[in-house]
């Protein structure tokens, strides 16, 4: 009897936990079958993507809508700044030759625009990891006063007033409802397809090509001195580390600490991927390193030792001039020309859309 009561008591505790369980957001009810599915291919040997494709099935129509949005200046307040303004395809979707990027009203960003590729494998975004979902990422640059400077309400008003968009939203999602969610899902569909996995390095790994001598030597050095953080095949472990860059006195940017509020995260920034590194210069979260030589010199002798400096670099990394040359020869094999020139991601070549008159 006693035991039975105990069991029943346990039962009601369990059922109680169901009662207090939070409601989960309704799964997307997009049973729209009118769009043409796109298959997302995971390159051989790569890990499973982080992005949940079941919540946002890729379609040709969604991709095309995302591409139009990506290249549309009307997502900014004055019509001048599209996503592509700072994310240029020929620079692997970073801003070529800019430490910081230009934005609305002569604004300047506070961080270096990273290249955009292989984002399906990334679980949080920005140099400080503050954004926890790819779909949410575009909201930050759109609404930042120094970037695109626009309110989401205004963006939606402009899009809703455009007949072409109405057609494209309907084709992608089955109805003409236009909201932030659909806009950002379409942008994600376009961005998720940006997979860079066809560099010389990849071809060598697939047995389709061979490294020359400096590249091979460079790869060996890379595997002893760099790979702990820049892990293959994505060339980042996505962690946040203080690599000994002293605080930038103009920007006063403490990185990850701003998100976690934890002083142990002071001056930590995301380990960037080295894929297409030939075209993503300048380097560092604030673009302070103009070229790869400056980066190497930093690790060789200029690492600032502070309480949060990463143990892997705090005593500097011994690299000879000779080794720098070999490492660079290897890093240039990470350039994926077919990605940089992939017509699927290119603007249609028309002049940027004119701003809407309100």
């Amino acid at each position: 009897m006693q035991r039975l009561i105990t069991i029943l008591l346990l039962l009601f505790v369990v059922s109680g936990s169901f009662i207090s369980q939070a409601f989960k957001p309704a799964p997307p009810k997009e049973k729209w079958k009118g769009a043409t599915p796109i298959t997302f291919t995971v390159p051989k040997g790569w890990p499973a993507p982080q992005y949940n494709f079941a919540d946002n099935p890729l379609t040709k129509e969604g991709f095309e809508l995302g591409k139009k949005l990506f290249y549309d200046g009307r997502l900014s307040k004055d019509g001048n700044f599209s996503c592509a303004t700072c994310h240029q395809q020929f620079a692997a979707f970073s801003t070529i030759d800019h430490d910081l990027s230009h934005g609305f009203n002569n604004g300047l960003t506070t961080r270096n625009a990273p290249g955009l590729f292989n984002l399906a494998w990334q679980k949080d975004f920005m140099w400080d990891g503050g954004i926890n979902h790819l779909d949410l990422q575009p909201l930050a640059p759109i609404t930042s006063i120094n970037e695109m400077g626009e309110s989401l309400d205004s963006v939606l008003l402009k899009i809703k007033a455009d007949k072409e968009y109405k057609k494209m939203f309907k084709a992608a999602f089955g109805n003409e409802v236009i909201n932030t969610q659909k806009m950002t899902k379409a942008l994600s569909q376009f961005i998720l397809m940006m997979v860079s996995s066809n560099s010389k390095y990849d071809k060598v790994m697939r047995g389709e090509d061979t490294f020359n001598l400096p590249q091979r030597l460079g790869y060996q050095i890379f595997k002893t001195k760099c790979v702990s953080c820049h892990q293959e095949p994505l060339f980042t472990d996505y962690s946040f580390r203080n690599t000994g860059l002293p605080l930038n006195n103009h920007l006063k940017d403490f990185g990850r600490m701003k998100i976690t509020g934890d002083s142990n995260d002071s001056l930590k920034f995301r380990v960037p991927s080295l894929r297409n590194v030939e075209f993503t210069f300048p380097y560092g979260h604030d673009g302070r390193f103009y070229d790869l030589d400056f980066v190497m010199l930093h690790y060789r002798s200029k690492v600032a030792k502070g309480p949060t400096t990463d143990s892997l670099v705090k005593n500097n990394i011994p690299i000879s001039n000779f080794e720098i040359g070999q490492i660079k020869a290897f890093l240039y094999t990470l350039t994926d020309t077919s990605f940089l020139k992939d017509k699927r991601f290119a603007t249609t070549g028309l002049a940027p859309q004119q701003p809407m008159h309100e």
Partner: protein
């Protein structure tokens, strides 16, 4: 939500059954579907107040420390509304609602409740944490509503904006954007309010809930404008505001 149903074999003693049901229904309560038959509309109206006065945006008020402030924005999310029946059952109503003082249409939530007697209500201030980590949401949770931090993903649970002569911030601003959902900095709060009398749901009923903004400053914690005029990140101060706003609600009337 499915109704809980429990089968107990014949070998179980009647006494145990009685004890079990006493425990189950009277102590713990059970969730019940809110979409069954015999439901009627119940209106839940939120009446924002400054102590005993109905809030008027752009009016100047005083908090309990005598600090003047001219309020211009007052918004908060209400979620997980549930009614407690006279038999201690809990009836849950899914959905997240943004109450915005500037938009009277947002201040009344209509739910379809079963025709029973109710003795109280509970709800959460703020959406559940799952919404903070599941991409872009729609409806009242659309980030276009201005209640979402784009740079550090997460909802602002409640927002109070004002100006005050004792504020040390630019333009004498008072800006409390209270959010944070991670363990240790969670600002979602559950509020439970018993009714002053049993509500017999026979249709056209209304529950009026008063929300006294002055509690933000003076409840569990003493938070003076002169001390902190701005709170815009998750953290200790936001948690203190959350403790305080959890105390701002009272039942004004049940009719």
């Amino acid at each position: 939500m499915k109704s809980n149903s429990i089968n107990i074999s014949n070998t179980t003693g009647t006494a145990v059954l009685i004890i079990f049901f006493l425990i189950f229904f009277n102590v713990n309560g059970t969730a019940q579907s809110s979409t069954g038959k015999n439901t009627t509309d119940v209106r839940i109206s939120f009446c924002n107040m400054i102590d005993t006065a109905a809030m008027q945006l752009r009016e100047t008020y005083k908090n309990s420390f005598g600090e003047e402030y001219t309020i211009r924005t007052f918004k908060y999310y209400i979620s997980n509304i549930s009614l407690v029946t006279a038999k201690s059952k809990i009836v849950l109503f899914p959905g997240v609602h943004l109450i915005n003082e500037a938009d009277s249409t947002t201040k009344t939530i209509t739910i379809k409740a079963p025709a029973e007697d109710f003795t109280g209500i509970s709800f959460h201030l703020g959406p559940d944490s799952i919404y903070n980590v599941s991409g872009t949401q729609t409806g009242d949770l659309d980030p276009a509503k201005g209640m979402f931090w784009t740079w550090n993903s997460g909802y602002i649970m409640a927002k109070l904006e004002a100006t005050s002569p004792v504020s040390s911030a630019v333009n004498s601003n008072v800006s409390y954007h209270i959010g944070g959902f991670k363990p240790g900095v969670n600002t979602q709060r559950k509020i439970t309010l018993p009714f002053p009398r049993t509500l017999r749901n026979t249709g056209s009923n209304e529950i009026v809930i008063a929300a006294n903004a002055n509690k933000w400053f003076d409840a569990k914690h003493t938070l003076k404008i002169a001390g902190d005029a701005v709170c815009a990140t998750p953290g200790k101060l936001a948690v203190q505001f959350a403790d305080n706003y959890a105390e701002m609600f009272t039942i004004a009337s049940v009719k």
